[in-house]
């Protein structure tokens, strides 16, 4: 007769194994709860969990930190476009699992007032700030306190494919949006898709801000905390965007499915579009034979202007320590390591991010590897800041929905901006 399962010989062994697993799991979490005590007991330096994008460079850098510091890094990869929501759900749920997270200007504005991030003022030492201008810290501050340590700058520049330009008989990149339309018509006449912008439904507010600024307008009045995009400049900017699609037909129809800059950069690197605005990672991507079909053909220029000579959009990429982190000391060690001058240089050469460390930025090797850095200084003399607000995610989604509707012809620019403004005012309780 078959024995009951709990009477089988193997049962005590399995139960014992399960017990050991449970107990070791518990002791693991205890170690996390009291990292310093545990580290002192067994001689290691503890561990941290980093939530960051999965580029190989960042992961290799984390491994290098492990070797140098003896602090173990649990590197959790997150897609760039999913970072905000991942953080929001983790913070709202009271999670304490992350010690280092990526932040940018709007994340700080949203998460810091809710107490989700650790103020870093008392943890940052003078030597850490020695080569970094105060202006790089400002976007990652809230209420006079620093919540993110700057790591790189991420401004949009104008990229064009030199080979396609030559094919259409175009010599120079357009300096104004009016010139841009003429250039685009020439490209279109040659059967080339002239241009693309990220018009995805949660992201189209970003290119709109660039067009709005080049028309002389601004998206938000930070002093009065009020939207200012519904203006004559806003209508002109949105009309231009809609015309590119509906009247001139010079923009790739795929634009509406680009919800970030990454797929747009990929399309450019594949040679399917001739021009676009994008962030600095485009240059190394489009010049890498493994990821690009247009190596050696990448031109970089100032973003075209209208009322202003040029305008852009830039985020400051930084690192923050969540308020719930139990390993703040080790997390700060990590920040110190990855933002050192040496690592900033490696980052600029490796993946083309613009370093915030002045010594790294001016390094000859860095400049040689990144010819697109040359026009950054002039680009940054014109408006470029990121839109920041405690409800930035909701506001940008709301505005983007109407921008997308206008460029698709479902709403006129006037209707779209009026509706977006009304809904945004409701969102912020004004």
């Amino acid at each position: 007769m078959k024995k009951e399962w709990w009477k089988q010989k193997q049962f005590p062994a399995i139960a014992g194994l399960a017990l050991v697993t449970v107990v070791s799991g518990c002791s693991g979490s205890n170690a996390g709860d009291n990292g310093e005590a545990s580290a002192a007991d067994d001689g290691d330096k503890g561990e941290i969990t980093v939530l960051y994008v999965g580029d190989q460079f960042w992961q290799d850098q984390a491994k290098e930190f492990e070797q140098v510091s003896g602090i173990k890094v649990n590197y959790e990869v997150v897609n760039f476009t999913e970072q905000h929501d991942k953080l929001a759900t983790a913070f709202a749920g009271g999670s304490t699992e992350y010690d280092i997270v990526h932040v940018r200007d709007d994340f700080v504005a949203e998460f810091a007032p809710k107490g989700f991030l650790t103020p870093l003022d008392d943890l940052i030492t003078e030597d850490m700030k020695a080569n970094i201008s105060d202006s790089y810290f400002t976007p990652l501050m809230n209420g006079g306190q620093i919540y993110g340590f700057p790591r790189y700058l991420w401004p949009w520049q104008f990229y064009y494919n030199k080979a396609l330009f030559a094919e259409a008989g175009i010599e120079n990149p357009p300096a104004t949006w009016a010139e841009f339309t003429a250039v685009a018509e020439k490209l279109k006449a040659k059967g080339i898709t002239p241009y693309a912008e990220p018009w995805g439904e949660t992201f189209s507010y970003t290119p709109f801000i660039v067009h709005l600024r080049s028309e002389g307008g601004e998206f938000w009045d930070e002093e009065q905390d009020l939207p200012t995009f519904n203006s004559p400049e806003g209508v002109r900017a949105l009309q231009f965007m809609a015309d590119m699609n509906l009247k001139d037909k010079i923009i790739s129809p795929q634009s509406v499915q680009y919800d970030s800059t990454a797929p747009l950069a990929d399309a450019f690197a594949q040679g399917t579009i001739a021009m676009m605005m994008n962030a600095p990672h485009t240059y190394p991507l489009a010049n890498n034979p493994e990821t690009s079909k247009i190596t050696g053909q990448v031109g970089v220029a100032l973003v075209p202007g209208a009322q202003l000579k040029t305008a852009s959009y830039a985020e400051t990429g930084g690192l923050a320590i969540p308020a719930g982190s139990k390993n703040k000391e080790q997390a700060m060690e990590y920040i110190r390591f990855v933002t050192s001058t040496e690592q900033e240089k490696a980052m600029a050469i490796g993946i083309g991010r613009i370093p915030v460390d002045n010594v790294a930025l001016q390094d000859a090797e860095v400049q040689e590897a990144n010819p697109h850095f040359a026009s950054v200084a002039e680009q940054m003399e014109y408006p470029y800041g990121m839109f920041k607000h405690e409800k930035a995610a909701a506001i940008s989604t709301e505005v983007s929905r109407h921008i997308s509707a206008a460029v698709a012809g479902r709403e006129t620019p006037e209707e779209a901006l009026q509706a977006a403004e009304a809904n945004v005012l409701k969102l912020i309780g004004k």
């Binding site: 009951e4 709990w6 009477k7 905000h84 929501d85 929001a88 759900t89 913070f91 709202a92 007032p113 809710k114 107490g115 989700f116 995805g200 439904e201 949660t202 129809p253 795929q254 509406v256 499915q257 797929p263 399309a267 308020a323 719930g324 409800k391 995610a393 909701a394 989604t397 929905r401 997308s404 509707a405 698709a408 479902r410 969102l427």
Partner: protein, 324 residues
């Protein structure tokens, strides 16, 4: 004594051991257990499961209910609750997006459940009657169900891509379209694209349960039907359908609940867009709770989904006249 014996058996001691220990000690635990009523004994046995359900289902539900009557604020890392009564529910009723979100939810649910059941019926009948292709179906039809929701979503995202999607390539080669379409960002096609992906994944489970129900029908009934001159259609309406009606009822309720809960697929494919054309209550609740940080409003929307589930279930029970 019988209940004490069952208790001893469950905990692996048995009568022999009990005898060795000198039987039930008067006034001891087992003796007291033996004096319990049947109802109390039943509750005693159910207690571990009920405790688990209480902690993982009832407590979060009550917490969400409490939150739905509150305005939740995050200040300096702690949450504060202000009781606002029905304010969140009234906000939902006044929300200009609510009618569209509600109609999307109902449309998505009804279309998905009806289409899934219809296709699953076709597949299960094919296999049940062993017609041509039954063996093939039997071997492949569980594959979609075996995929995780996220994998399924990403797979369809790639297949629908307006840049390189195989869906476009196939339709182009067959001559149904002239150029690649952006199925997920077009207001006229996004909902159908999401529905198609969800139906594709759900059909195997439903077909499996329907097939199991069909295979439990006694063969004699079919033989009797044949003797009386009945064909497959007669068998379907007078034998199969009445026999599997309770299973259909269960599937309708389960599928409805699951469809009302669909989040990952819609979020990964369209995030509720374009222009809210795929925005269902679940996605709307997430957007309000975790993008707008309005947890109270998000909880109120979630309770709306519960109410909708009850309405659907009541409708099914009335329509199908299933009492138990």
């Amino acid at each position: 004594m019988e209940k004490a014996n069952r208790f001893l058996m469950i905990f692996g001691r048995g009568r022999e051991q009990e005898k060795k220990e000198g039987g039930l000690r008067k006034g001891g635990l087992l003796d007291r257990l033996d004096r319990l009523s049947d109802t109390s004994t039943a509750y005693l046995y159910l207690m571990p499961t009920m405790t688990l359900i209480l902690l993982t289902v009832i407590v979060p539900m009550l917490y969400a209910l409490f939150i739905s009557f509150s305005k939740v604020a995050f200040t300096q890392g702690s949450m504060t609750y202000d009781f606002v009564g029905l304010s969140n529910y009234m906000q939902l009723l006044r929300d200009a997006r609510f009618p569209d979100v509600l109609s999307n939810t109902v449309f998505f649910t009804v279309t998905k459940v009806v289409a899934t059941l219809a296709i699953a019926f076709g597949i299960s009948l094919t296999i049940y009657f062993g017609v041509w292709g039954a063996g093939f179906f039997k071997r492949i039809f569980l594959i979609p169900w075996a995929l995780s929701n996220v994998v399924n979503s990403l797979m369809w995202q790639w297949m629908y891509s307006g840049d390189y999607g195989i869906f476009n390539e196939v339709l182009l080669r067959l001559g149904f379209i002239d150029e690649y379409q952006m199925w997920l960002v077009n207001v006229h096609t996004a909902m159908s694209a999401v529905l198609f992906a969800d139906i594709w994944k759900s059909v195997p489970y439903v077909a499996l349960l329907l097939l199991a129900a069909m295979q439990s029908i006694p063969r004699e009934l079919h033989e009797a039907s044949k003797v009386d001159g009945g064909g497959p259609i007669t068998a379907f309406y007078h034998i199969i359908l009445p026999h599997i009606k309770p299973v259909i009822m269960v599937l309708l309720v389960i599928e409805t609940m699951w469809t009302l809960r669909v989040f990952d697929l819609i979020w990964l494919l369209t995030k509720g867009g374009p222009q809210d054309s795929t925005m269902t209550l679940n996605v709307f609740a997430y957007e309000q709770a975790f993008r707008n940080f309005d947890l109270g409003y998000g909880a109120a929307i979630s309770y709306c989904i519960t109410i909708l589930t009850l309405i659907f279930t009541f409708f099914y029970m009335k329509t199908l006249k299933v009492e138990n």
